[in-house]
Amino acid sequence: MTPPIPKKTALVTGATSGFGFETTRLLAQEGWRVYAGYRNIRKWGPLHELSKTMDIHPIYLEVTKPASVKNALRVIRRKEGVLDALVNNAGFVVAGFLEDLSDKDLKAQFDTNVFGLLRVTRESVPLLKLRGGTVVNVGSISGRVSFPGIGAYAASKFAVRSLSEGLRQELRPFDIRVCEVAPGTYATRVVGSTQFGEGTQKGNSPYASFQKQVEEMVKKEFLKARPASEVAQLILRILKSRRPRPVYMAGPDAKFMAWLKWLLPDRVFEGVFGSFFPWSKRP
């Protein structure tokens, strides 16, 4: 008789909705033990339901709070002693034209999307080292192309792309694989959780009319959004792979945009890209 295969353990941040929720559910279905990080107890209902029937353990993990990150990982260390996968998914969008964003807006954006990711990774690495693991960072097509109206978000996702590349190099000697999943438009709660910059909220912004047009475009874009479970499937595939690729663009829109950006010289790309934003012409 072969001994039972020990269960693999994963930590998913931002697991109350979207990619995080779908990934948590899928991994649990596939026989993983999943620690599902949540920030807002009022939003943890669906997660709590799942945890009754599956090997899912909701855990308070607010990536902007160092103490909560340390505590969550301390719990995992005590209960499991080891971690096989970390999915850095927690993130949100600060929207608004860059001049309209205050110091506070920018810092809030980076605190979750960038510093939070580093915080969780820092605390998880000791557990991931033990038998080799995988880190999946959720980036975005905004990590390749900076769209007007969400410049701060793009900056944070460009940084995530860079951090994934850096961590991949630095953690390779410890048998920790790091990849970035960069989705396009998916049906998540990202629009609902978007925060607007101070200048945008005040309403007297010089960019107000452009802002409106961008919002219209976003609305239209999200009508074509694909189901978030697609990205969860991709993450599962990555976690099962011994040699995952460094970057996975998720969704045809992200693949196409990234390919255009890769293929075209800046000037040509800007011409094509700019034609989607007719207001951004030179006066």
């Binding site: 820092r122 793009a154 900056a155």
Partner: protein, 280 residues
């Protein structure tokens, strides 16, 4: 006298900022050269004999200091035609070993500081209906290297901010570009701030990091110096329409091109070979 274009520069005590201030002044611009600490202005003062350079103190980390400096420029010159966001420094260490404080300090200058100055200057440029903003990015904004990963991530963010601002401010006649120096012979590398864990020699990556620091810190005689970057900045300012990116130095041009054609797995094998050389 008063129709001279006005340039505002940050981080002018050494390197690229200093040389650019001198070059623009020689070209007849009215230059406001700012730096965190005016005590470090001696080099610039000596070189600037007779040139139209005005020195101001500005610490881009501090909102009050930025506001004060920009309003001084507005008061003295009444306009800002060019902003060169040059202030920045490099953190050194492994990405999983920086403390929260070290991470924030790196971003405070390179990203938040850059946006702080930009935010203060943009209203003037919009009112004028013209203006140019040049961010000093880096080759590190296009590729990431072990040991300076945190710095690379800030410069990636600068690339995104450049692309974003470019589209957002174009209707107001403001142009934005990023100048991307590769390895340049300036005090930048000597001024790298190392992670505490590395300095205490307790890093899990200690040997690799020490090797990277050793190999990466010796400029050859072919390494371009700061005036080369200054000349590129001038070229960008003189162009009718600024391009998005201006790489400076052979490495800054060819590394991304090589990476462009290279499949990921080849790139990874190359990195592995590099690590072996570094003794990981």
């Amino acid at each position: 006298m008063e129709d001279r274009p006005v340039a505002l520069l940050t981080g002018c005590s050494t390197g690229i900022g200093l040389e650019t201030a001198l070059l623009l002044a020689r070209e007849g611009w009215r230059v406001f050269a700012t730096m965190r600490d005016l005590k470090k202005a001696e080099t610039l003062r000596e070189a600037a004999q007779g040139l139209p350079i005005e020195l101001l103190s500005m610490d881009v980390d501090k909102p009050v200091s930025v506001k004060k400096a920009v309003s001084t420029v507005a008061h003295l010159a009444g306009r800002v035609d060019v902003l060169i966001n040059n202030a920045g420094w490099g953190a050194f260490g492994a990405l999983d070993e920086f403390t929260d404080k070290e991470i924030l300090a790196q971003y405070e200058t390179n990203v938040f500081g850059l946006m702080r100055v930009t935010r203060e200057v943009l209203p003037f440029m919009r009112r004028q209906g013209s203006g140019r903003i040049i961010h000093i990015g880096s080759l590190a904004g296009k590729m990431t290297f072990a040991g300076i990963g945190l710095y690379c991530s800030t410069k990636h963010a600068v690339e995104a901010l450049t692309e974003g601002l470019r589209v957002e401010t174009r209707p107001f006649g403001v142009q934005v570009a990023v100048v991307e120096p590769g390895s340049i012979n300036t005090p930048f590398k000597a001024n790298r701030r190392k992670a505490a864990l590395f300095l205490k020699k307790r890093s899990a990556h200690q040997r690799v990091l020490e090797n990277i620091l050793y190999f990466g810190n010796h400029p050859s005689r072919f390494t371009p110096k700061a005036p080369r970057v200054a000349r590129t900045i001038l070229k960008a300012l003189k162009a009718d329409h600024m391009a998005t990116r201006y790489p400076v130095g052979l490495d800054s041009v060819w590394f991304p091109v090589a990476r462009w054609f290279m499949p990921d797995f080849v790139y990874d094998r190359l990195l592995e070979a590099m690590y072996r050389r570094f003794g990981a």
